[in-house]
Every structure is written in structure tokens, then in C-alpha cells.
């Protein structure tokens, strides 16, 4: 692996290839496509959090002038009984307030909206299950009467879908050895991904059963398979064209509208467009789990952790599948522990099915652990970074979830934090500081890339990872570095499911790592072809030619007097040397490389109103290698502010009937520009050995640490801890009043 200093393209900050389209309004997002003769679909949603559906009568809606079709779950293949299918349109029960019940397609959105109100649904209203405590009780009302814990047939039905357990050493012995033990319980509320672009799609089907879907998604291939699954079609029936995507953060990894739009299109023979409004996004699409995490951690006087124990319960929503697994696997990941026990519970409640949200599962469990570690540091009178350094996982540490860590950057991040001027400068009187560590596994998975060289040497990359955060720029930079040609001669395109090889979704911080790897390999394929063409031109053997700075040259010692051939020169004559230059690669990338971060924040608190103001925030994070450092910082800063929002004000507020009371950007309070300070970043580079340029995923780790960093900073100001999030003014003021 070359030293960072030797790179020409990697590490620079050029303008992204799709930038001009996006600042001039030309880029087409999910709702921007209109087709001739197109209809508009709208969804009728359940007004009850839990109800048996006795009857659905679509006839009055169908009778409305301008309505072309109406569907309920009865119009979908009944043999498909996946959670996905039942989430898209309820079957026998409405499982949460906002659960889709039926849909219509009409000439205008307005007609569709008025028509869905004419659909008659007879409900038998059931008591909803709305909290972990309630759901986990014996004899609790059941969200799903057929669900048994861990699919154990002999067990009674339960709201606990599955359990997790990780264990090492002897926890009791470890606690016996401890001089100090911290034991606390922490609640984190449900938070929404809050992407600015609502879900949207257009579907059209032809009489032969072929379907085309334009939609905003993190994964067009996953939309294809999910839609095929729900409709009992084969994936070859469906083509998915991804639009530009207006944010996802995990929330656009699942489908809600697409199968419904396809069915409506099949029934009407016309294209059908469906766009959610913001209220639907909040009520019916994936928030992150609300959680209860209990942590017990013990240490000796000198700060060595002797044992740690976690009990984690995650709300899954109305279907199994909360990220309690990754939550349990990440809770102790930053620490080298001899003795630990982690138990996790995936719990059904009558709320929307949770979806991935940036490092899914980790922010909640690690909030608990990082608060407990801070508490431990307080009681041991140790610097919180020193305490973490003393116990930090490093290369060779066996991670709590099993494997040994390859090279990781936690220690370097902690050391960099300790040295950082923002940390070295002590906070002023009245200002509190909180530190926390973040972690995410990162994933590899499947990617494909093609690299085409035009007759003038211009390079175009075709890949399948929707670009949410500037990944096209990273692909072009890696291609520029590999090929040795200027960044400006390269463009990158995100293809549809029929124009590019299979590619898993943009998520899990995998795009720059895995799709980047495919791009690098496809470029190497182009280089191999160029060398062969040069060898042909020079009448040499191919192994007598090498690629240097974007040009084919004879290897040292080959006795021939020729000018090097640049990519452009080889391209100019490609018709005579074998036809078009086209490199390709497809792979299932392994070794994504875990990503650690250290964050700290300085806050002040208005003790009379309970308002917490963030004065400063610093993020230090291991990027492996920052391909486009500005977009790496962008991930760090964006994740930091999402985490701060979750810590301070973001939460789902339910009434007693399971209705979300704050389903709007007015009352679901994501941070606005004036709430936030600048987010200072330091990128650490501990190269990932599994990537030719050392890339690690960077997208998810940034949201993890801010939750506990904020809690710890508030504790620093107040002198006592508020365990539960959000640290909203009413909660903070109530805690101050209670403490007085």
C-alpha cells in the first residue's frame, strides 16, 4: 500500500461529478418524474394502533369520477406472508397507527386523497401494546398471536421475537474483583432518520407483465427482489431505475410504496406515481428502536475493567427485526474485556416496523455503556480518555462478538483526542464537557463496476450504488489514482438493475469500500488491456510492458525505443487493437474493517429553562484512508448533528392510543442551522489491509458517540446524571428541580 503522501488523486477535494446538476435543480429525485397518462396513488392508513380488520369496502372509492383502481391486501398474492408484505398492506390486523390498509389510483393526487376517505373499513379495536415494559410482561396483549420467542414451537406466544446472548469469562468473579461498580438503566426514545425527501416512486407495467419502477432508494436491486417477493414475480420481470436519493440513513433500504404502485399500474394499465407526505413518512416508515439498556460495569482502582454486563431490550415495532443483535454486538466493542455477559431482546409493540438508522442498534446500547464508563471515570477520578485508553480494544483483541480485531484505530483516535487543542483547552466555568467513543462494524458485500474508456480517453464508471453522500466523487478519485489519469476526465454513473451488475444497497458504510474495490479492480482490468494493446503496438510480450503514471511504458531493461502510450493514445487506436476498452469487476468484498471514533462536546445549560446549548463539538474518527476528505468530514459532521438531535430533542411522542403526536418537522425537532456549532473534525488513518487504498467505511460510526457525549457533558454541568434521552428542556428542568 502506497504512503498517503504519494497519492496524486486520493486525499484531494475536487468537486463531485454530479455537483452542478444538484446546485442548479437539474438532478432528478424520487418525485421528479412524470409520465404521460400517469395516475396518482394514495394510501389509506389505519386510525388505530391495533385493530382487527373485519371488512374493507372499496366500492365507494371506485365509484368516484377520476378513480381508476383501488386495492387492499386481498389484491396481493395471499401465499406471500412475509413481514414486508403484511407491512405494505395490512391483512387481518392493523398493527400500528398509520399501517397501510388500502390504496387508490386516480387522475390527480387530490382526487385520490378524497377517494381514500370514502373507503369503508370495519375495525374491531384492540388494546395496543405501546412500551417495552408492557410488551415483556407475562400475559401481555400480543401484537402477533402466532409469534414464539426464537421460533421455539414449544414456547407460549410472546411479544419477545428473539433473544441474544454473548458471554465470556466469569462475570461474577469479575465483579467480585472490582473496587468500583456502576449499575444504571438508560432509555433512548425512537428517532426517525429524517431524510428530507419523502419516499416516492413511479411504476409502470406492460401487458406482458414486465414492470419498470423509478424510485428513490438506497438499493435498487433490493427494491427489485422485495417487490418481486411481495408480488410473487421473478426478479427478471422487474427493472428498477434509481433516482437521485434525497437522504436515506438506512430508512430507504426497505420498500413501502413500490409493490402497491406496481399492482395499481397492473390493474389500470397506466403508470402510477406514489409520493408520501411528511406525516406518512413519520407515521409509517422506519424509525429507530426505542430501547431500555441496563449496564453494570466494574473496575479496579487503577481503572482496569474487570467485568461488564448488559441487558438490552429493543422495540421492533409491529414485526420482528429490531437491531438488538448489532446493539448487543457493539455495546462492549471498544473494550478488551475478560468477563462479560450481554443479553438482548427483540420486542414487538404496536408501532411502525423499525428500519435501519445509521449504525443500527449501536447508538442506543453504546449510549448506555459510554455513560456508564463516564460514570466510572468520575468515581475513579480518572480522565475519561485515560480510562478508555487503559481498556481499549486494539489489533488482536478478541471482539465481544467473536472475531479478533484486525488493525483498528481506536487507540490512535483516543490519543489524537487527548492531544487535540479542543480537548487540551479546559472548558470555561459553567461549560460541561462529555466524551464518548463510537463504533461500527462496517460491511462489504456484493458490488459490480464497469469502467469504459471513450475514444478520446475519457473514462466513465458504471456502478450500482446510489450516491447519497458524494460517492461518485470517491469512485472517480480511486479510478484516477489507479489509472493515473486526471480526475476531471472521469465520470461516474449509477446504473439501473439492467444496466449494471448486481450491487447490494448503499448502506453499512460499504460503498466506498466495496463498490470502490470493484471500481479499482475494473480499472486494473482496463490497465491490463491497455498493456496488452501497447504490447501489440510495440510488438512486445505483454509482460514486457508496465503501467506508470497513466501510461504504458516498456519495462526497465526492455530494449526498445518507443514513446510511452497514454490512456488517451491507446484509446484513439483501440478499434485497431481489439475494439473498445472496457474493464469490469464484480466481487463480494470481505474485510470491511471496523471504524472507531472519539467525540466530545461542550455544552451549557440554562438552569431556569432546562435548555442545553451545544457550544462546541469535535469528532475524531478512523477513516482507514480518506479518499475525498471533505466527504469523510461530511459524514462525521452530519452524523454528529443527527446524534446531537437524538440526544437533545428528537423523539417519537405517543399518546395513550399509540398515535404519534409529533408527526411533522415542526414538532419532531431535527436540529436547525442555528442550533449547532461548527463540527470540528480530525481524520485518523489506520489503513484497512483489505482494501488497496486502505479504505474503511465511515458513514455510520459518526452517529454513535454524540448521544453519550451529550449526556456526559450534561452530567459535567449539573453534577448528576440524567440517564434517559432526550435531554429536552422539560426533562432537564424536571431533573434539576428533583435534584434541588
Amino acid at each position: 500500500m502506497a504512503d498517503a503522501a504519494n497519492y496524486k488523486a486520493i486525499g484531494t477535494r475536487p468537486i463531485r461529478p454530479d455537483g452542478i446538476e444538484k446546485v442548479t435543480g437539474r438532478a432528478n429525485f424520487g418525485a421528479d418524474l412524470n409520465l404521460p397518462d400517469m395516475l396518482h396513488g394514495k394510501v389509506l392508513r389505519s386510525p388505530h394502533a391495533h385493530a382487527r380488520i373485519k371488512r374493507i369496502d372499496l366500492s365507494k372509492a371506485l365509484a368516484v369520477d377520476g378513480v381508476y383502481a383501488a386495492v387492499s391486501s386481498a389484491d396481493f398474492p395471499q401465499e406471500v406472508t412475509s413481514s414486508l408484505s403484511i407491512n405494505i398492506l395490512a391483512r387481518d390486523k392493523a398493527l400500528y397507527h398509520g399501517h397501510a390498509i388500502a390504496a387508490v389510483a386516480a387522475r390527480t393526487p387530490r382526487i385520490a386523497e378524497e377517494a381514500i376517505e370514502l373507503i369503508e373499513v370495519e375495525y374491531e379495536v384492540l388494546a395496543p401494546v405501546l412500551s417495552l415494559d408492557e410488551a415483556m410482561q407475562e400475559n401481555a396483549t400480543l401484537v402477533n398471536e402466532h409469534l414464539r420467542t426464537n421460533d421455539e414451537e414449544s414456547a407460549p406466544p410472546s411479544n419477545i421475537a428473539s433473544t441474544q446472548k454473548f458471554e465470556r469469562g466469569d462475570v461474577q468473579k469479575g465483579f467480585d474483583e472490582a473496587d468500583v461498580i456502576v449499575e444504571e438503566a438508560f432509555r433512548v426514545p425512537s428517532a426517525h432518520q429524517g431524510y428530507i425527501e419523502p419516499h416516492a416512486c413511479v411504476a409502470t407495467s406492460n401487458p406482458g407483465g414486465r414492470v419498470t419502477i423509478w424510485c428513490t432508494t438506497q438499493g435498487p436491486f433490493e427494491v427489485r427482489s422485495a417487490t418481486a417477493g411481495v408480488l410473487a414475480k421473478t426478479v427478471s420481470d422487474i427493472k428498477v431505475i434509481p433516482s437521485e436519493i434525497g437522504g436515506g440513513f438506512g430508512g430507504k433500504t426497505v420498500v413501502y410504496l413500490e409493490p402497491v404502485a406496481v399492482r395499481l399500474s397492473e390493474l389500470t394499465g397506466k403508470p402510477v406515481k406514489m409520493v408520501m407526505n411528511r406525516e406518512e413518512v413519520f407515521r409509517a416508515t422506519g424509525p429507530a428502536s426505542a430501547t431500555l439498556c441496563k449496564i453494570k460495569v466494574g473496575a479496579t482502582k487503577d481503572g482496569r475493567i474487570t467485568a461488564a454486563q448488559a441487558w438490552l431490550a429493543y422495540e421492533a415495532g409491529a414485526f420482528p427485526g429490531s437491531p438488538v443483535g448489532p446493539g448487543a454486538m457493539s455495546v462492549f466493542a471498544p473494550y478488551d474485556l475478560e468477563n462479560f455477559l450481554v443479553e438482548g431482546y427483540d420486542v414487538l409493540v404496536n408501532k411502525p416496523k423499525v428500519a435501519a438508522y445509521r449504525a443500527p442498534g449501536a447508538p442506543q446500547s453504546m449510549h448506555a455503556m459510554e455513560c456508564a464508563i463516564d460514570e466510572l471515570a468520575q468515581r475513579l477520578d480518572m480522565d475519561p480518555i485515560d480510562l478508555r485508553l487503559k481498556n481499549a480494544a486494539k489489533e488482536g483483541t478478541v471482539a465481544p462478538y467473536g472475531p479478533k480485531f484486525p488493525p483498528i484505530g481506536l487507540v490512535k483516535c483516543l490519543e489524537a483526542a487527548k492531544r487535540h487543542p479542543n480537548y487540551a483547552t479546559k472548558p470555561e466555568e459553567g461549560v460541561g464537557r462529555g466524551v464518548a467513543v463510537g463504533f461500527w462494524f462496517n460491511i462489504g458485500m456484493q458490488s459490480s463496476a464497469e469502467v469504459c474508456v471513450a475514444e478520446d480517453g475519457a473514462v466513465s464508471i458504471m456502478e450500482g450504488s446510489p450516491d447519497i453522500g458524494g460517492s461518485r466523487a470517491s469512485m472517480c478519485l480511486m479510478a484516477a489514482e489507479t489509472l493515473g489519469v486526471p480526475y476531471e476526465t472521469i465520470n461516474a454513473h449509477v446504473g439501473d438493475t439492467e444496466s449494471t451488475g448486481f450491487c447490494n444497497l448503499t448502506g453499512g458504510s460499504r460503498t466506498t469500500f466495496a463498490t470502490g474495490l470493484a471500481v479499482v479492480k475494473a480499472c486494473e482490468d482496463v490497465i491490463a488491456q491497455c498493456k496488452a494493446r501497447a504490447a501489440l503496438t510495440w510488438e512486445l510480450d505483454v509482460d514486457q510492458v508496465e503501467w506508470q503514471d497513466g501510461r504504458a511504458v516498456p519495462k526497465p531493461g526492455v530494449n526498445i525505443d518507443v514513446d510511452p502510450l497514454s490512456l488517451a493514445e491507446i484509446a484513439k487506436t483501440m478499434s485497431r487493437t481489439g475494439g473498445p476498452l472496457l474493464g469490469r469487476a464484480s466481487l463480494n468484498a470481505q474485510g470491511a474493517g471496523a471504524c472507531f471514533s472519539v467525540n466530545w462536546t461542550d455544552v451549557i445549560i440554562d438552569r431556569e429553562t432546562g435548555k442545553v446549548d451545544v457550544k462546541a463539538f469535535t469528532a475524531v474518527q478512523d477513516a482507514g484512508r480518506a479518499i475525498h476528505p471533505a466527504y469523510v468530514e461530511g459524514q462525521m459532521q452530519g452524523g454528529a448533528v443527527q446524534g446531537l438531535g437524538w440526544a437533545l430533542n428528537e423523539e417519537y411522542i405517543y399518546d395513550g392510543n399509540g398515535v404519534v403526536e409529533n408527526a411533522s418537522f415542526l414538532d419532531y425537532r431535527v436540529p436547525v442551522a442555528s442550533d449547532m456549532p461548527m463540527i470540528d473534525c480530525e481524520i485518523i488513518e489506520v489503513p484497512n489491509p483489505s482494501h488497496p487504498y486502505g479504505v474503511r467505511g465511515v458513514g455510520e460510526t459518526p452517529i454513535v458517540a454524540p448521544l453519550a457525549a451529550t449526556s456526559n457533558a450534561v452530567r459535567d454541568v449539573l453534577g448528576f446524571r440524567i440517564n434517559d434521552l432526550p435531554l429536552s428542556p422539560p426533562n432537564v428542568l424536571a431533573a434539576i428541580d428533583a435534584a434541588e
Binding site: 428473539s162 441474544q164 443500527p360 462489504g444 453499512g508
Partner: protein, 80 residues
């Protein structure tokens, strides 16, 4: 013999067995051995990630396993 560790969600297939020593040379062989011992586990393993000597594979198949290897089955990580 490689050391193989099963997480909770596989215990209903392994009849509660948490850890096992298995003689095998590749992941594919390991799966065959386990399926023979506990019929039905193969389909569960196909949706589970595995760490072989510290390296995580979301979809393992022909990866080599040596006599002193450690094999951890773990939940697949998805991510946002």
C-alpha cells in the same frame, strides 16, 4: 479440531450447544458436518455471518478452516 461457537439464535438447532470442536477443512465441510448432526441448521446458517479466525464473512462458502481455527457464527450486520 476447529473450535466453533454458536450464538443464541442457533441454539434451537444445536439443542443448546454453545461450542463444539469440529474436524473440517473448509466452511462448506463444516456446514455439511453440522447439518448431519443437526438436520435443518444449514438453512439457518445460510443467513448467518461467520468469523473465521477474526475475518468476518457475510456469505462464506469455500473458505478454508484449519485445525486450530476459531469459527464464530454471528448475526449478519446490515447497516443504514
Amino acid at each position: 479440531m476447529a473450535r466453533v461457537v454458536f450464538p443464541d439464535h442457533l441454539h434451537r438447532f444445536t439443542q443448546g450447544t454453545h461450542e463444539l470442536e469440529v474436524d473440517c477443512a473448509s466452511f462448506r465441510q463444516l456446514v455439511r458436518v453440522l447439518e448431519e448432526k443437526w438436520p435443518g441448521i444449514e438453512s439457518a446458517l445460510s443467513s448467518t455471518a461467520v468469523a473465521i479466525d477474526g475475518q468476518i464473512f457475510q456469505d462464506a462458502w469455500f473458505e478454508k478452516i484449519s485445525p486450530n481455527s476459531e469459527v464464530f457464527f454471528l448475526q449478519r450486520i446490515e447497516g443504514g
